[in-house]
């Protein structure tokens, strides 16, 4: 087997391949710079000393905008609400999604394909429409004006397909004899699930949780419909601020949260690793 392998380094020596390789390298790093550099423009404006929203590059250095951000009540209220909503959405969509994935991967029934498509369909339905439909029903038909549960419902619908997708992916390659071994050694089904199944599909669950949390945390399309004057999420509060004030506080808010995100990234890398996180799509 070893002799049949092609030496990759030699195969690139043909001229067409060399051009192809250079083009690929160029595109790869070009794309990364396209993703990375504009964000630096926007974040660096958090330290701008000018009183109104100006253009890059920033002039001077100040931390005042961070104080403006922390003193503005809707931001802090929005952060609290977003954290609460995202946590509940993560827990609910994980519970529903894990049960659903177990049933979908491990059993066969008529209409399973259709059911599968239905569950994943919120991914291809634009978020604006899910939001509009929920607004239409909850406000128009049911007169349900309580924003918090409404947003939680909407985000759960958006997040669940991602959880089902990642958890199913980790269940597909699952060796079921492990569970049977546990059961033949005397464990009941619930013990088997928590001691054998759950630890093995943990990467899928963590990836699903990250997706669910980030979808709820960053959502604007749906929350814009369902928030009201009393209850707002952080992204919607940012948008509201931008409507009335034009200053770098928005950049400061984002820079502040980037710091928290960096910590979160280290946690992800240490718990499941980026590599595993990606394989689950």
């Amino acid at each position: 087997m070893g002799q049949n392998r092609v030496d990759r380094r030699n195969s690139w020596k043909k001229p067409a391949d060399l051009i192809g390789k250079i083009a690929a390298k160029f595109l790869t790093w070009g794309t990364f710079l396209f993703l990375f550099v504009p964000i630096l423009f926007a974040l660096s404006m958090a330290f701008d000393t000018r009183k109104i929203m100006a253009f890059f590059p920033p002039k001077g250095f100040t931390l005042d905008w961070f104080r403006v951000f922390l003193d503005y009540t809707p931001f802090i209220e929005g952060l609290k609400n977003s954290l609460l909503i995202a946590s509940i959405v993560t827990v609910v969509s994980l519970f529903v999604g894990v049960l659903c994935s177990l049933a979908l991967v491990r059993s066969d029934f008529r209409g399973k394909g259709f059911f599968n498509t239905l569950i994943l369909s919120p991914i291809v339905v634009p978020g604006v429409i899910t939001g509009a439909a929920l607004l239409n029903m909850l406000y128009g038909n049911l007169r349900q004006f309580n924003a918090l549960p409404n947003i939680i419902i909407g985000h759960t619908i958006l997040a669940m397909p991602y959880v089902v997708r990642t958890v199913s992916a980790s269940l597909v390659g699952f060796n079921r004899t492990l569970e049977e071994a546990a059961q033949s050694l005397g464990a009941d089904e619930i013990t088997t699930f928590f001691k054998v199944t759950l630890p093995i599909i943990k990467p899928g669950i963590v990836a699903g949780a990250v997706f669910a949390f980030s979808i709820s945390w960053g959502d604007v399309n749906l929350a814009a419909f369902l928030t009201d004057a009393y209850t707002t999420t952080f992204p919607v509060a940012l948008m509201g601020y931008m409507r009335y004030y034009s200053n770098p506080a928005v950049a400061a808010a984002s820079a502040f949260l980037m710091g928290i995100t960096a910590i979160l990234m280290i946690v992800i890398e240490k718990t499941i690793g980026f590599e595993k996180f990606v394989g689950l799509w």
Binding site: L35, I123, V124, F225, M258, L264, W281
Partner: protein, 306 residues
């Protein structure tokens, strides 16, 4: 030896199943129905039902004097949606979403390929961390990044001035929106495409090379078709993502370029014309579902011919 042990264990648990009481047998056989109950309730009551009610709303008659629309059947809402100026928003939304989808796939693929095939190192870890971090980044700041690029005194015009070229008012047109949408779609597209490149066995590519193909041919005839599921999923995600863009046009065109989502949002919340907004939503839904269906169909056929 291990295989033998495993098969014995399997037989043991099988025979245990058959011997157990019929109640337990049925409980196990239909457990998946109970498992599927929460998701079914959630989807039917809070997803399908709202969509059906939205469809019904789109046929109601709008009365500007009352908050509630009259439940009288009319096609007037659709007539308005499909005529100017709203039809312009439809073509614009389609144009921006299609451009975004194509650019996203072209830019995401090389990056995904690099991230799957290159050796683990600090650079790779940094790129991966940045991609996942962008899921948690505030949408508004990602859009503002391009305000700084395309704005009147933005980076692009600063560069043009530096070279003595005339500056341009970029923010009035659709391109800044499309570019920002590409920026928003790439992270998820890369994750999805990486997933499908990961499943390709490199020995298949080696086989093509042994049979005489060069690297470029191998890539286009073997690697690319095999990673098609990821490409399809990435296109669907970026198309629907940009079809529901609403903040991006607001910030990057200062209200000059309006997409369908802007009208939907405006008519639901500011004008309170539910029937019109519902009709607009239904048109957007039909468009995005048929494009999704089309993308997967076309790309799948393409790979079959190859």
């Amino acid at each position: 030896m291990t295989i033998l042990l495993a098969s014995v264990l399997e037989n043991m648990s099988d025979s245990k199943d058959n011997k157990s009481s019929s109640l337990k047998y049925y409980a196990r056989k239909y457990a998946f129905f109970i498992f599927l109950l929460p998701v079914t309730i959630l989807l039917v009551l809070l997803y399908l039902l709202p969509l059906i009610l939205l469809l019904a709303q789109s046929f109601y008659t709008y009365d500007p004097n009352f908050f509630l629309p009259k439940p009288i059947f009319t096609l007037e809402n659709y007539r308005i949606v499909l005529s100017p100026p709203y039809s312009k928003a439809i073509t614009l939304t389609l144009w921006i979403s299609a451009t975004t989808t194509i650019l996203t796939v072209i830019l995401s693929y090389p990056l995904s390929f690099y991230l799957v095939r290159s050796k683990t190192g600090l650079a790779k870890k940094f790129v991966m961390g940045f991609l996942i971090a962008s899921f948690f980044m505030q949408l508004l700041i990602r859009i503002y990044s391009f305000y700084h690029v395309f704005g009147q005194e933005g980076v692009l015009n600063q560069i043009l001035t530096f070279f003595g070229l005339p500056t341009q008012d970029w923010l009035g047109g659709p391109w800044p929106i499309a570019v920002s949408m590409v920026h928003q779609s790439i992270p998820i597209a890369v994750l999805v495409i990486m997933g499908s490149i990961k499943t390709i066995n490199p020995e298949v590519e080696d086989a093509a090379k042994i049979l005489g193909a060069n690297g470029v041919e191998t890539f286009f005839k073997v690697t690319l078709p095999l990673s098609l599921p990821g490409i399809i999923a990435a296109s669907l995600l970026s198309f629907t993502g940009s079809a529901s863009a609403y903040v991006t046009p607001l910030v990057l065109s200062q209200g000059k370029v309006l997409m369908m989502a802007n009208y939907i949002y405006n008519r639901f919340l500011d004008v309170v014309n539910y029937p019109f907004a519902a009709a607009m939503s239904v048109v957007l839904l039909i468009l995005s579902l048929s494009v999704s269906y089309g993308i997967s169909g076309v790309l799948n056929r393409w790979v079959k011919i190859e």
